[in-house]
């Protein structure tokens, strides 16, 4: 800043004794977002040349920054992303296999009573589900056991014994429908997540890890259940603990 500009700024600061914002307030807001313009700021800027220039310099700096951030994008980025989805999608078979698939599925379903739902790695899915919903683990609600029991009834299950402090409870969107998602604060293992996949889906028992989360999918009382913990060593105990506390209706 040149010496010539300093008097203007001093005057503006003095003027702000009767207005809502000081030069410091304005410059803080300009630094956080140069595009921001409240009525109070506008009033200040109309009197303060120094802050006006400060804002203009920041806008110019942001314009240079915006240009610099626009790094070249690799050719075919979008097409490759769409292709990967297409290759993962069972739709690629549809054009040439649909008739054969329908016939085969009907035959097998009749003879072998195969489930219609797609087989998925539910252990991995629930681990991902928990990792994707950090708010559920951060929840500090005090939910009554009766609420959980009511939802469990939809899955043909009921509580045999209390589970502990219920922090979070919801019916979440999952592949093939809505599943139950409950977070329980236990004394033994800290937070344990109980997931009941949507009714009717095929669940192959197994274990999986995703990020910091370890999950086991299993069958108990003729129902598919999954449990998630933050420690692999706790998974088996937490699973057994859940099994003893849930019963079929």
């Amino acid at each position: 800043m040149t010496d010539a500009k300093k008097p203007a700024m001093t005057r503006a600061t003095a003027n702000t004794t009767t207005s809502a914002m000081t030069c410091l307030d304005v410059r803080r807001q300009q630094l956080a977002n140069p595009d921001t313009q409240s009525a109070a700021m506008h009033a200040h800027l109309s009197q303060c040349e120094s802050c006006r220039e400060h804002g203009e310099r920041l806008l110019a700096q942001d314009a240079r920054l915006r240009d610099a951030l626009q790094v070249p994008v690799p050719e075919g980025l979008v097409e490759r992303a769409l292709l990967r989805r297409q290759l993962r999608s069972p739709q690629r078979f549809r054009n040439w296999m649909i008739a054969a698939s329908v016939a085969c599925l009907a035959l097998f379903a009749a003879w072998w009573q195969l489930p219609w739902s797609q087989s998925r790695d539910w252990a991995l899915l629930v681990a991902e589900h928990v990792a994707d919903e950090p708010a559920a683990l951060a929840a500090r609600g005090e939910i009554a056991a009766a609420e959980l029991n009511k939802l469990l009834h939809s899955w043909g299950l009921a509580l045999r014994e209390p589970l502990g402090k219920l922090r979070y409870l919801d019916r979440c969107a999952m592949p093939d429908g809505r599943g139950l998602h409950a977070v329980i604060a236990t004394e033994q293992w800290g937070l344990v997540t109980l997931i009941l996949p949507p009714a009717g889906v095929e669940v192959v028992p197994g274990e999986a890890q995703y990020g910091d989360f370890h999950a086991a999918a299993f069958h108990s009382q003729g129902r598919a259940i999954a449990v998630v913990t933050a420690d692999a060593a706790q998974l088996s105990d937490a699973r057994q603990w859940l099994e003893t506390r849930l019963t079929a209706l």
Binding site: H54, L65, A68, Q70, L82, R84, D132, P134, G211
Partner: protein
């Protein structure tokens, strides 16, 4: 083509470039950023059924890119992402670099602490508000404002502006 397939395709076409640029400034490596975006978009497709608010698709995709990036880091690296590095803040204070061209600014941004660069990229490139950035980074609105302020101060010092002027305000 199903509704889900169509909306996914539209979202990829609309946001893939911004996602790549965000990924680039996260990992500071072009090919790694490319892989990151491809993996993130595939993961987004896998969970597309969970997208309940179509208005929030952009923030949701950015969040997935960030989560994929963090997943690849060690716990120590992850913690370092959230720490303000005061030594790094001072490192560019000499203002000696010639900032007349875009490449020089990019070079400077590559040296910026991740905790400052990321909210700045999300605001300037992604067009997100400080509240939205706070949601993406899992922090408070006020903390984002502080980081944005410090990021611009850091840049200004690096651009060689007269720091004396700011202190006099």
């Amino acid at each position: 083509m199903t509704v889900a397939t169509r909306t996914y395709e539209l979202a990829v076409r609309a946001y893939a470039k911004d996602l790549y640029r965000y990924a680039y400034w996260l990992c500071r490596n072009g090919s790694q950023a490319d892989d990151l975006v491809q993996d993130a978009l595939l993961r987004a497709w896998k969970h597309w059924h969970r997208l309940e608010d179509a208005q929030a698709v952009k923030a949701w995709l950015f969040r997935i890119v960030r989560r994929e990036f963090l997943r690849q880091l060690t716990r120590t690296q992850r913690q370092a992402m959230d720490q303000l590095d005061d030594d790094m803040l001072q490192a560019a204070s000499d203002g000696s670099a010639d900032m007349a061209d875009t490449l020089a600014i990019r070079q400077l941004l590559l040296q910026a602490p991740a905790s400052l660069r990321e909210p700045l990229v999300l605001q300037v490139l992604g067009g997100f508000s400080s509240a939205e950035i706070a949601g993406l980074l899992g922090t408070r609105d006020g903390a984002v404002m502080t980081r944005l302020t410090r990021a611009r101060q850091w840049l200004r010092r690096a651009f060689g502006a007269d720091a004396q002027e700011e202190r006099s305000a």
